[in-house]
């Protein structure tokens, strides 16, 4: 089973960190990814730039609308994600608990959803 672990934390806490604490956290994450890769659980992942770099795209009535943000008043912000391979949710949660920012914020674990098979092309009746 594939699970996505979404990493959330308060950017304020990170911004208030000392340079050294931030470096340590990054190194810890690198080591964590190495461990997950070695055990075959890590499929992909990426930390993200802070929310102030975010842009939202919407298409309404065929028009592309681009806006700054989101700057919703949520307590924690999305900071990165992992795509994990695990037997079941229990294992996925266990893996997620070892993602270092779990200590600072929260990790949301969600099973992936597979899209239905691609629809066969419509053929003309009587063909």
């Amino acid at each position: 089973m594939k699970y996505v672990a979404l990493v959330y934390y308060q950017e304020q806490i990170i911004n208030a960190m000392s340079e050294q604490a931030w470096q340590d956290l990054n190194q810890e994450c690198i080591a964590g990814v190495e461990r997950l890769s070695a055990s075959g659980h890590y499929l992909a992942g990426q930390p993200l730039q802070p929310t102030e770099t975010a842009t939202t795209v919407r298409v309404r009535d065929g028009e592309t609308l681009i806006s700054d943000g989101p700057f919703a008043e949520t307590k924690e912000q999305l900071a990165g994600f992992y795509l994990l391979e695990a037997h079941d949710l229990n294992e996925a949660l266990q893996l997620a608990s070892r993602i270092p920012p779990a200590r600072l914020g929260s990790i949301e674990v969600r099973p992936v959803r597979e899209l239905p098979p691609k629809a066969a092309p419509q053929t003309e009746i009587g063909e």
């Binding site: 730039q49 102030e52 975010a54 592309t64 700054d68 943000g69």
Partner: protein, 414 residues
Amino acid sequence: MSTEPLYVDGLYRDHSRRVQATLIRLLGDFELAEEAMQDAFVAAVQQWPVNGRPDNPTAWLIRTGYHCGIDQIRRRSTARRRAHLLLPTELPPTAEALDLEPTTIEDDALRLLFTCCHPSLSMEARIALTLREMCGLTTEQVASALLLKPTTLAQRIVRAKRKIRDAHIPYAVPPQEELPERLPDVLQVIYLVFNEGYSRSTGASVVDINLTQEAMRLGNELARLLPQGEVFGLMALMLLNDARREARQDSDGELVTLDAQDRRLWRQEDIHAGIAWLEKALALTPTGYYTLQASIAAVHAQASRAEQTDWGRIVRLYDALCRRFPSPILALNRAVAIAMNGAPDIGLKLLDDIAHHPQLSRYHLFYAAKADLLRRQGQHEAARDAYQQALQLATLDPEKRFLHRRLAELEHSP
């Protein structure tokens, strides 16, 4: 020799924005470019009196600024949070090898404008950034012009610059095929800057920055760099509106509506200039939003008395606008034009049809327009009600006083 510092002053005024625009492209960072630009001018003040003035001062300033910027990057390269500032692995070109053709430098101004007006930035940030970077105003000047605290504005600008850097908003003029989509963003920022200044031209303003002038300067520059019909149309619209500035308020600073204005106060030279821009715009197709709006402004500008206004032509122009760019505000204006064109019943009926649109139901000018049509029809009772509704929603003092005056006039009429 003694005139050298003065010469640098003039050069700073005329060229600092241009030097900075090019340095932003070369160094890839707004703040770094600004520091580097300042350093370059400091160097000029020190070196030119001794070594003589260079043949091409702008190119000299850019090269020197680029040197200073590269030095800065080297010094900062150990700091983590600056790590992404590091130049790519290949060595930066030497200052002597930079392409500093006049056309490249001109393009940089255009790149800067499109970057400042990028749709992924909030509208507030776009306006602040454009005034700060394109008009060369200080943070304090922009803040006072926008009636904001300097700290608020500074924060807004810092956040926008950080986003440009970290999200990699490209420092580029969009390719030709994307221009129809991106140019309106730039024109909208310029027009908002203009309106910000225009709506604030009443009362004892202590603001020394004239936003209408800055907007027209930006429009002029854009028209030179990017000669598109809509840019000309926007220039025409701004000039035709601004020509009426002195007539928009009486000697007590009270609002005067278009039909009551002393048209001798309209500045004819601006009207002529506006119409010249409009003719250039109309020669290019398709006719866009600003060109159509300017065409309406031109109809008003060409009527020497309010009664001579060619409302039939205005209705046709609003028809075209509403077809191409449907919006409730335009529908409101179209309804008023139809009423003024001798069909008040149809106009009032059209107003009723759109009254419940969320953009209009809380819009004081909707009720003010309705009240005015009712008043002209002699329906004083209904007009009073509409003026009352407008009054409840209006926020600006001159507008409130205007609505109070209209109400008082109705009280005294049969």
